[in-house]
Amino acid sequence: MVVAIIAVLSVTAYVQFRETLKAGVDSALLSQTEAVTVSMAADDSLLEARKEIEAFFGPINDTKSPVYRVWFEGEQDDYVTSGLQGNWPLDWDIQSTEAPTIGNHKFFEASRGEIPYRLLWTRAPDPRASSSTKQPLNIIIAVYDGHVDTQIGDFLRALLIIGVVVIMLSIGATLWILKWGMKPVVGITTKMNDITGKNLNQLSSYVTDVPSELRLFVRAWDEMIERLALAMQQQRRFTADASHELRTPLAIVKSTLQTARSRKRPSETYESAMDQSLEDLERLEHLIEQLLTLAHLDDIESQSDWQTVDLGNLATEICEQYLPFAEQKGSTLKWQVCTAKVSGNDEQLRRLLANLIDNAIKYGPKASEVSVSMHSSNGLVNVLVHDKGGRIPTEEQKLIFDRFYRVRKVRKRASSSTGSGLGLALAQEIAQKHCGTITVQSNPRTGTDFVVTLPHI
């Protein structure tokens, strides 16, 4: 790019310079012709005019001195001449020999042997006052113009040297500036190499003295690291929670069976050990199923198994299914649904609604009412699951959708846990997979509402 610009500039400068030099030669030729004409007009005497012209041109020293020829048409001999022999310029290598019309002049390029000349041929009416014949006057002046090319050559050489030097200097300067400018970037890059999943440090914690241009970059990077660290932390916590939740029931089952087996015991002991183990295995089975569903939701982006699902029908089916469970708790389950078609995975949507209804019955107060209602507007379907349950503190409302949140909370409070702590996390992920949301509102007077919002089709 830089080279191209320099090349264009050089060519332009060359052409311009050459034109200027040529114009200089031409104007010199014109003024010389003018001088000759003036001398001819002023002095009637041939001798005087000759002297004047010879004085004007000076002595002819070498091939580079100008040569001239002045003659009147119809006269045998030249009127004034620089003394060059031969019928020049006609015997020179000349581009054309066509004479200018009277009162005009014409420039020619010519060369005598190897020597380049610029010629001006002027045809003018007879300037002599005393002349009776009035023959047109021809003036040819030829000047050596090889110096134009020599000068241009010098100029080009100089231009080339300067150009190369400038290019070298600018490359050097650019490299130096780049290196100098990249120094903080290189420093930061080295630090970035230290950042790993286990060592998610922020750049600003060990890159001090960041140049102002890079401050925004470092800040953006640090914000990214923060988000990654949060995600990693959540992932780690999830893994730790999941492994605890998987291992504990396994440990219980194993210990129960090994304890029973460690010596001979009455058959009732074996039976009770087996019953307990089955119960624990069911808990484990439920947990594994939920974990697998979560993993499945995490992995598969595809909507290939989506179909049109009527949420109203789905809600009715689930409510009918949960009716005995509600009655068992002495509660009532009411539902009021409408037809609302959404696009999605039938099984996942079923799980989403079932989890919410199951929670409402399980954690709502005994002998109270759980209601499911639906309405659709603005292309969205809202499903509301309401129970008269106590207040979920505002600061906890976001956290309840965290995987294993309930488990952690229950662990802290030392009450017995019946849930896996994954139900709401699953519900939220399913809603999000279906381009929807799930929100909770809880207040001691009215109870708790979970609202699922999904796009209508």
């Binding site: 291992r247 194993k254 210990s255 129960t256 090994q258 460690s262 307990q276 662990r411």
Partner: protein
Amino acid sequence: MRVLIIEDEARLARNIAQVLKESANFAVDVCTEGVDGLHLAKTNPYDLIVLDLTLPGMDGLDILGKLRSAGKTVAVLILTARDTSSDIITGFNTGGDDYLTKPFDMGELVARCKALVRRAYGQTHPEIKVGKLTIDTVARRVKFNNREIRFTAMEYRTLEYLGMRAGQIVSKTELLEHLYDFNWERFSNVMEVYISALRRKLDPDRKYDLIETVRGQGYLLKEK
């Protein structure tokens, strides 16, 4: 030997307690909550604590740290689902003596518990030899003068404790504290009944004064 199990899964704790009673003849206390667990561990001279880490009330590592800060030297076996090497290292560095991850093998747990208790009393051989008396702590068999003697569980527990501390005077309170869990009604004269039963079974002819009564201080199992 008396063990405290701090484990929030009640059924698991119960199973461990049962096996430690049956297979190791330990006196076992169970606690399913962190704060109470720390209190029990601080106020009773346990020979071993089996400690879960994920506990309600107080985290197991906090309990361990506080116990060590309070100068308690009791052996602690950490029993947890946390299985990464950084968890294990933290467990040991907080003051744990052993680390077992869930799910675990009951037999292994019992063997580890026995080894920890043995080491706590400066014993390395599973067989305790005191003069002509041999106590095989694995098979729980006692031989005196090459004659095998059968004891009840409580008698054996008493003799094993005296054997672990052979050559030292053991007070009646110490015996009570190390041989009974906290559900037991403690009457000090119960110890005298066991000691006399031990003496009678070991040495029916009263030829050796194997277990000496040090007046006002306690009992001494003599090394010679």
